[in-house]
């Protein structure tokens, strides 16, 4: 699912009160930042510093780079406990919390399953699904807080940060922007993960639409994540299914067609938008600070989104 391009302000020609747009390719998609207010040259340097943070996290979390930290963990963490930096340890700990609260519907150890279903570059291998299912599970990841070390208790286990990486990177990028004193900015990763800082010049909030749904949300100091299984499909005995897998069954999730999560934290919003696709309903353990929309019927081409829009509007009005 891709939300539509936000309403970007037009860059004025004067240098003070400028609007700057910058972008970078990372995590297999395009990240973009728009910053407003103040000196143009400084805004651009802040935007670059924020995007550099995203690039840095891509280098750490990418499955497709053999020199990434995640690749290093996937190669070696079953053989010995691997020391990681504090920020990565904190990310893994946060992922464990969502895994527990979602009853395993969100699980970053899903790497072997994603490979078996052909969602990570190679061909699908149905015979490998059962074996992959047997080795995954966040319960098999030891997180030693005293030494910030990570160890996999089961061979074959592999992390796949695809469901949380964009949100995590945006979380850090937004922190860079806030620390630099910029009070008006919008960032997105692949248009499905969004962070809004303040409001655009002259506006009450950043208006963001969800493509193909008619949903429009106004964000102010808030993060939003949109998930849907439709982006990439695979053929199963039950028909064509999307790329969101249910870690509990090992099969593509047959749940909701679209989820939208709003909250303070882009990482949590990302993780929970995936978990909700699997769960189809809000679990008790989901943080109360997160607001969500679960649209079970979005796969149907003729689906009327009036209900969805109303639900989300209700959620937004509670803020």
């Amino acid at each position: 699912m891709r939300s539509s391009d936000p309403d970007w302000p037009t860059a004025p020609s004067n240098r003070e009160g400028a609007v700057v747009r910058a972008a970078v390719f990372a995590m297999g998609t395009r990240f973009e930042a728009v910053l407003a207010g103040g000196d143009e040259s400084r805004l651009r340097s802040v935007a670059e510093a924020a995007l550099a943070e995203i690039t840095e996290w891509d280098q750490r979390l990418s499955l497709f780079r053999p020199d990434s930290l995640v690749s290093h963990l996937n190669r070696s963490a079953h053989e010995r406990a691997i020391r990681v930096d504090g920020d990565t340890f904190e990310l893994l700990s946060a992922c464990r919390e969502v895994w527990a609260a979602s009853g395993g519907a969100f699980d970053i150890t899903i790497g072997p399953l994603m490979r078996a279903w052909g969602f990570r570059g190679g061909p699908a291998d149905p015979l490998a699904v059962e074996a992959a299912r047997a080795c995954i599970g966040m319960d098999a990841v030891e997180l030693d807080a005293s030494e910030q070390r990570v160890r996999f208790r089961r061979p074959g286990l592999a992390l796949d940060m695809g469901a949380v990486g964009k949100g995590h990177a945006l979380l850090h990028a937004a922190a860079v922007i806030r620390e630099a004193g910029v009070e008006s900015a919008l960032l997105h990763g692949g248009t499905s993960s969004v962070v809004a800082i303040g409001s655009p010049p002259g506006g009450a909030g950043w208006r963001v639409g969800v493509a193909g749904t008619g949903i429009t949300v106004t964000l102010h100091d808030q993060a939003m994540s949109v998930s849907a299984p439709r982006g990439r499909m695979v053929q199963t005995p039950q028909g064509r299914r999307g790329h969101i897998l249910d870690p509990r069954t090992g099969a593509p999730a047959g749940g909701a067609g679209l989820t939208v999560v709003l909250g303070d934290c882009a990482r949590l919003a990302d993780a929970w938008s995936t978990a909700l696709l699997v769960l189809k309903e809000r679990p008790i353990g989901m943080p109360a600070s997160l607001q969500c929309l679960i649209d079970p019927c979005s796969l149907a081409p003729s689906h009327n989104h009036t209900t969805a829009s109303a639900l989300l509007a209700g959620a937004c009005s509670e803020r």
Partner: protein
């Protein structure tokens, strides 16, 4: 061809490559003997943070201290490196943490010399980012101090520790390229090269690379690493460099060029052309050697050989991995081919399993803890850094600068 024969040939191909070149191209990590080596990192900016990440992969070291004058950066560094003590002044670190045996210097270039000299005087081993200094005098002072010190001094010219570059160098020196006719390199990025700061004074300090009085420009700050690859491969330095540069895009009042060209000439007349820009990222950072038998392209985490049709077959390359570049087919240079071939994983060997920085830091640690010969000495660092400084002079002046071999020498 049946599968068994194919598997055998694939295995044999990998074995041939390794036997004829190097038996174990991916170096082992430094060995942990007893307690890990206590290490301090001075300068926790972008490069310092990358260094922390790579050091944390090495069980043989413990990051015991970090130093940065910027409180925010220091705090971020300490958050990443659990257990590290934070210092605002490096002298205090040297005075109070006698248990720290080795230091990594990742400050702005013009601040390296004083820290390195004080560290070596205090008996600490030094890993110093490159260029090692921003003036010829400072480069020489550091090389001289390292020569007179018992401490290990490792200059961070990462190509010299990179397994792919080591492998490609063995090809280069074994005549696979044959008659070398030209060389070129580039480093293209899209960035302003400007860093935001909390106030005007801090911003000025952080943007030392845009201060023409302190910076060695694109040629020095970035090019030094790439120029050294050619010097290392050829075991000689160029005799002159002509340069040009301009602010093409980032017209924000800066005087340091955002786009530069250099033309180096070697004693045999072969030239190396270099281009660096902050306006466009196409094809990133790489080096190319052109010979009558083959071209070699190196891109830091990967490398390729492009053979001419009439070049003799060496055996190993027949079943090697290949990548298409428009009309050209590159043979992927893979480190540790024997091991990968034996596991049927040659394709997985494309690209380094760790960042180039990891191998440079590993070499330094091994020199300190295992007595391994220094992969890139202060003298190597001095020569490469002075070459970068002279190239920047050529860029700034727009003229040809003669490179007297005596100018490059550090000690």
């Amino acid at each position: 061809m049946d599968m068994e024969r194919r598997a055998f040939l694939t295995h044999a191909a990998g074995a041939l490559a390794a036997v004829s070149l190097m038996p174990d191209l991916l170096p082992a990590a430094p060995i942990l003997r007893g307690e890990p080596l206590n290490i301090g990192v001075i300068g926790v900016g972008k490069q310092g943070r990358a260094i922390i990440g790579e050091l944390q992969k090495l069980d043989a070291v413990k990051i015991a201290a970090l130093c940065d004058i910027d409180p925010g950066r220091l705090e971020g560094g300490v958050r990443r490196a659990q257990g590290a003590e934070g210092f605002a002044e490096y002298n205090k670190l040297l005075d109070t943490r006698k248990d720290i045996q080795a230091l990594v210097i990742a400050t702005p270039t013009h601040l390296h010399k004083d820290i390195a000299l004080d560290a070596m005087s205090a008996g600490r081993h030094v890993y110093c980012e490159a260029p090692i200094a921003s003036t010829i005098e400072d480069c020489r002072a550091m090389a001289q101090a390292a020569k007179n010190s018992k401490s290990v001094f490792h200059a961070a010219l990462e190509g010299r520790s990179n397994p792919i570059y080591t492998l490609a160098r063995s090809f280069f020196r074994s005549d696979s390229v044959r008659d070398l006719v030209s060389m070129r390199a580039q480093q293209h990025q899209k960035t302003t090269w400007r860093t935001p700061g909390s106030d005007a004074a801090r911003e000025k300090a952080l943007n030392w690379r845009l201060d023409k009085g302190l910076s060695t420009g694109l040629a020095g700050e970035l090019g030094t690493h790439q120029f050294d690859v050619f010097s290392w491969y050829r075991s000689e330095y160029p005799v002159s460099v002509r340069g040009s540069g301009a602010v093409r895009v980032h017209k924000d009042g800066r005087e340091v060029a955002d786009t530069v060209h250099c033309d180096f000439v070697y004693a045999d007349g072969v030239r190396m052309q270099y281009m660096s820009t902050l306006a466009n990222s196409f094809e990133g950072k790489h080096e190319v050697f052109h010979g009558s038998n083959a071209a070699i392209k190196l891109a830091w985490t990967a490398g390729w050989m492009f053979k001419e049709a009439d070049a003799p077959t060496q055996g190993w390359e027949v079943y090697a991995n290949r990548q298409q570049f428009h009309n050209d087919e590159g043979i992927t240079l893979i480190a540790d081919a024997t091991k990968l071939a034996s596991q049927g994983k040659l394709k997985e060997g494309v690209g380094l399993p760790n960042q180039p920085l990891y191998y440079a830091l590993s070499d330094f640690i091994k020199s300190v803890t295992e007595g391994k010969a220094v992969a890139c000495s202060a003298e190597d660092g001095c020569r490469a850094s002075v070459l970068g400084i002279l190239a920047n002079r050529a860029v700034v002046s727009g003229e040809t600068v003669t490179i007297d071999p005596s100018v490059l020498k550090g000690s």
